[in-house]
Symmetry: C2
Subunit: 201 residues, 2 copies
């Protein structure tokens, strides 16, 4: 059983998602995941530290892709452009296996522990984007704002993408639409004179 199993990692991930969807994340054991995939627990643990890793092990690749997307954006790209390019790059990865991504999202949303882990992962993506922008020479405040705002746009676009029933609109398009909406909204946004008052308490 110690020998190499073809596509073991993918088979385990798909089996895990099926079971999480059917029984719930907490009620599923590693033994059941391995059994569903026709593999042993030992094989499972060669690929994943625990069952949560099935859902989060892709985060490191995505982070690297975000960093590269910012680094490789054209010199003329402003901070928001560079972040948008990076988000477009990870959208393309999601587009390669939309069903897996949607099922994963449903499991994460259904489990408070996983939702918290997801928040932490997304916060780490924002930090990675900020650092990558700083390395392009973007000043600290602009870098943080572009990174955090970009991740907010991404989260919202991703939610819309995951929830659409017809699956007609791709994620990159939803990200661009959300950025356009944000731009339209901030164009008429707060100046100090208008919001400097404190609402009555």
């Amino acid at each position: 059983m110690g020998r190499w199993e073809p596509n073991a990692r993918d088979r385990l991930a798909l089996a895990a998602l099926e079971l999480f969807g059917e029984r719930g994340y907490e009620q599923t054991t590693v033994a059941e995941i391995a059994g569903r995939a026709g593999l042993t627990e030992r094989t499972f643990f060669r690929h994943f530290a625990d069952k949560r890793e099935v859902l989060f092990s892709g985060g490191v690749d995505l982070r690297g892709l975000l960093e590269r997307g910012v680094a490789e954006a054209p010199d003329t790209a402003g901070p928001i452009d560079a972040v948008a390019a990076a988000l477009t790059a990870i959208s393309a990865v999601f587009a390669e296996r939309p069903d897996f991504v949607r099922q994963r999202h449903a499991v994460v949303e259904a489990t408070p522990e996983l939702r918290e882990r997801e928040l932490i992962k997304l916060a780490s993506f924002a930090s990675a984007l900020t650092d990558a922008l700083r390395q392009r020479g973007v000043p600290a405040l602009a870098a943080s704002l572009a990174a955090e705002t970009g991740m907010a746009v991404f989260r919202i676009a991703f939610q819309r993408w995951a929830q659409q029933t017809d699956q007609k609109t791709d994620l990159a398009r939803l990200i661009h639409d959300s950025l356009d909406e944000l731009r339209a909204m901030t164009a008429g946004a707060a100046t100090e004179d208008r919001v400097g008052h404190r609402p009555g308490r």
Copy 2:
């Protein structure tokens, strides 16, 4: 010892922050907090469920204040204006006890478990803002974007406020500056033609 103790809650909170700062959050016990405040553990547990609650029990008030800030913004205020008004309202609360807020922030930043809890709290604030905007009739996408972007701006402004050594600039001003910077940045932001390409992989 069961009788009412004047300012027990504030004394316990200050004692806790002192000890967290001196010894670290994890190394501090409820018995030590009560002792430093000159009170009993029983009194502590009348005010807080556990030592973490000392740092997070204010969240509910802040959430209510954010909701009210949005609800009470003038009818003419756009979504971002309404969020900015709400953030200005909680800045005013922080301004009432800046030392407590800064010390609390330092403890939270130093402890991974608390940083995670803080992320979750801030995410719940964004949800509350979204709901409050929806109740003003703001469409779903615009509500989410204004709320999430507003919280991103708030987090960044708060970090700057907490880190400044001269403590010269107040939080409301930093929030407005960050919003202005965001507006300037998005004014020249992504259009699909400019970011629709996928960076080389």
